[in-house]
Every structure is written in structure tokens, then in C-alpha cells.
Symmetry: C2
Subunit: 253 residues, 2 copies
């Protein structure tokens, strides 16, 4: 059953095309076919000049193409081509649903290689200019996604946030009031400083400083781009400075 | 007081030189001077062909050059040169002590730009072939460093690990028995599957599957390279397969 090709699960980095790794560039240049998410930059896709480009359009956790169909497309492509790229925004191993694809491909006898990428928490931190960890303030970082549906588990998603020093919440642009409630129910103080980072590393980036209790109001200033929410004591200085200056929006120089 | 130069805090990625971003390559090529840690690959430094290269030799949290002296060197260099690179293994904003340098430089009126990099948890996950998050198994990842000194806080460091689904413990090669004790004291089950990844993405990489209660014994197989410890239910299949096969060491294909 093993085809001739390898499927490369490649992290595109977050936002700007030059946040791609050198390894990813070299694989793209050799690619026969590239399956990509909506979050991958068009300039980055242009690097795969010899490849057929197939949009499979997952974005922010919404499933546009059913996962089992993507799995089948990847396995089929590996029968026909040598270099098959599955291109994901950020890093494939972090909120990228990579495991479902890895497992399906291995079961089909297809070689899989993973190329890591710059995840959103890192590019957002570079944008904000504040380190996720900081001596004497933060020794741990928790990365998670909100689960703001209905049902018994509605607030459980925020539990890991309660004991972390710094929190990076992925896919945070929607239902900010439910996120705020979930965090507070998990024991996060409403006054805890928070920073929304939309479109990190892109010219259209937007940084909004706020506090956990005010997320819903602040989120009204967000657009439709991918958004990360950073929170924790390390952001106190940024948030209180912005509040003193009467602005809750701050773009780094 | 503002000098003519910009200090770029650049993430070198973890391990292999081709895990550097395209943005980092371009900055290195323009660099006048590069201050780097011991963890940065020599091939990567060679990209800065026009620059003076200065080793400031921090590794695994040990301080070889005093931080305030590094801060002063960076600020002084920005008075004399246009492109000053502060090069750090992995990503600067995650366990990179970046904030002390950012704050000192800003206070000295020096422009600072941060270029994110691939952090060790991501390159180790690519190496192991297991996603940090996985639908139905892991919705959160906590990144932390152990604090295995003496004193009252000796076990507190592990608290955030108790409620996270997946844990990536940076700088985990030393004092594995203290790490094991700290995790168990924080409520992590001794049977929880764990994977040591040493020298991720380098030819000398070593992957050792184990369980939280057996860290001390397994760590004896580690060398002196930078080591990450991954743990959580997502590794159950890898660890139990290795145990069934009578091997606790596993190198991905």
C-alpha cells in the first residue's frame, strides 16, 4: 500500500510570509502538490511554483472540508507524487489537528514528516514586545483554546488557566463574553491584565489591551482576523500604561 | 541617548540550522555584530558573514556572562552599529530571559525588534511525531521549567502541570529524580506517559519513552544535550508500544 511519496506536514508560521522556516521553503520549492488552510499567506504559497495548490479551507477550528476527506486526499496524493505538502498556519502540532492526519497517513502506509513552525503565541509576543516568561513574574505558560459551546463542559475548558502564570488563548476572537465568564469561573481574577493580538506580524495587526472582566467590550474593536488572547501578570505594565494614557489600543513601533 | 542601531532579538529555532525563519536569515546577512548563546548552531552563525560574532554563552539557564553585562554590551553596540543581533536558541520570548534585555535596551533608548523562532516544544513534537494537542485527548499545553533547588518553593514549580493535558518541561535533563518527585507531589500520576527528547532536530537526537515515576532511571540514558520532557495522555500509545516491544528508546524514522 505504501506510495512513492512523503507527506510533509509543514507549519507556515503565523501571519507574515517571512516567518516561514528555511526547511519549509526548500520543501515548498520541491512540492508537487500543496494542500493548505485559509490562514496560509498567498506569498508563501507562491513559493510552491511547481505545485498544484489545493485549498482545504480550515480556519479557526471551523471545518470547511471534512477531515476524513482531507486524509484521503493526502493519502491519494502520496500514491501519485513524491512531495506532498500539507500546509498549516502556525505550527502543525499545536491546535492544528495534525494527529488525525498523521494517524490516517501512517495507517495507509504513507511516510509522514513534520516541519515545525512559529506558533501564534510566539509571533504575538514578538509583536507585543513582552516575553511570555519573565524572571520573578512568570515561570509557566499555558496554551489553550476556549470551548464556548453549550453543555456541561462549558466552563471546564478554562481550568488549566487557573494555575498558569501566563496564558495564551488561541482562537479567541469570538464569544469574548463567554471566554471572560469561563476564565472568571475557573478562578482567574477579572482584573487580570489581558492583550488581544489580531493578525500578529501582518500589516493589519491590531493590539488591544484590556482586563479579563472587560473582554467582551474590548473585543468589539476586533476585526475578523485570527486573534490570540494573552493574559497574565507579565502584561500589567503594558495594560496599566495604556489605561493611564487613556487608550486601550496600542500598536508596537 | 538613542543610538543609530536596532537590536534584533532573534530566535534561532531549536537545533537544526534550517529551522531558522527567513526573516532571521535576512537580518543575519545584514548584521554588524551578533551576540549569541551556546545553543545556536555554528552553521547558523556562519550566515552572519559580515558580522563580528560574540559568544555570551548562556545555556540551559546557567549564566555564563552576567545579564547586566550582556545588556550593556547590546546597548553599546547599538551606539556604534546599525544591525545588532541578539541571537537566542528557540524563541526569545519563551524561557529566553528576553524581558531583562528588552527593558534595559528600551530604558537606554535603543530600538528593539523581536523575531520569533521555533521553540523546543515544537521541534521536539515534530521529532516524536505526536501532536501536543489532540481532539478528545488534549485541549491544553503547559510549558514550564523545573525548579529543583532547595527551599520552600522546591515543589511549587510543578503546580501548573497538575491541570494541563499536555506538559512540555524545558531544561529537563538534570535532576530527573527531583523533577519526578515535584510532578508527583503536584498531583501528576506516576504512570503518566513521558518522553525525553534530547537534541531535537539534530542528527544526535535521542528519544526516550518512559513514565513520570521512572524519570530518574530513564534519564541515565541521556547525554549532555538540551533536553525537553513531554508528558501527557497523548503519549500513551508511543510509550506503551515501546514498552510492549521491550525498548524504551525510540527514534522516529
Amino acid at each position: 500500500m505504501a506510495g512513492k511519496g512523503t507527506v510533509y506536514l509543514v507549519g507556515a508560521g503565523q501571519g507574515a510570509p517571512d516567518l516561514l522556516t528555511v526547511r519549509a521553503v526548500k520543501i515548498l520549492e520541491r512540492a508537487d502538490v500543496v494542500f493548505h488552510d485559509a490562514l496560509v499567506h498567498s506569498e508563501t504559497l507562491a513559493l510552491a511554483s511547481g505545485a498544484r495548490i489545493v485549498a482545504v479551507g480550515k480556519r479557526c477550528g471551523r471545518l470547511s472540508t471534512a477531515q476524513h476527506f482531507i486524509n484521503k486526499q493526502l493519502a491519494d496524493a502520496a500514491q501519485r507524487f513524491e512531495v506532498v505538502v500539507r500546509f498549516k498556519g502556525g505550527d502543525p502540532m499545536l491546535f492544528g489537528r495534525a494527529q488525525e492526519e498523521i494517524d490516517a497517513l501512517r495507517q495507509a502506509g504513507v511516510r509522514v514528516e513534520i516541519v515545525p513552525g512559529v506558533s501564534a503565541a510566539l509571533s504575538a509576543s514578538a509583536e507585543v514586545g513582552q516575553s511570555l516568561t519573565q524572571r520573578g513574574v512568570s515561570r509557566s505558560v499555558t496554551l489553550l483554546t476556549p470551548w464556548v459551546g453549550t453543555g456541561e463542559a462549558v466552563h471546564d475548558w478554562a481550568q488549566p488557566a487557573a494555575s498558569a502564570d501566563t496564558i495564551a488563548l488561541y482562537m479567541a476572537s469570538r464569544q469574548a463574553s463567554a471566554i471572560s465568564e469561563g476564565l472568571i469561573a475557573a478562578g482567574v481574577w477579572p482584573s487580570r491584565p489581558a492583550v488581544f493580538v489580531e493578525n500578529a506580524s501582518l500589516p493589519s495587526r491590531r493590539i488591544i489591551t484590556t482586563r479579563v472582566g472587560d473582554l467582551a467590550e474590548s473585543a468589539q474593536q476586533l476585526g475578523n482576523g485570527p486573534t490570540l488572547l494573552l493574559l497574565g501578570s507579565v502584561y500589567e505594565s503594558i495594560v496599566s500604561t495604556a489605561q493611564r494614557n487613556g487608550t486601550d489600543q496600542r500598536i508596537t513601533a
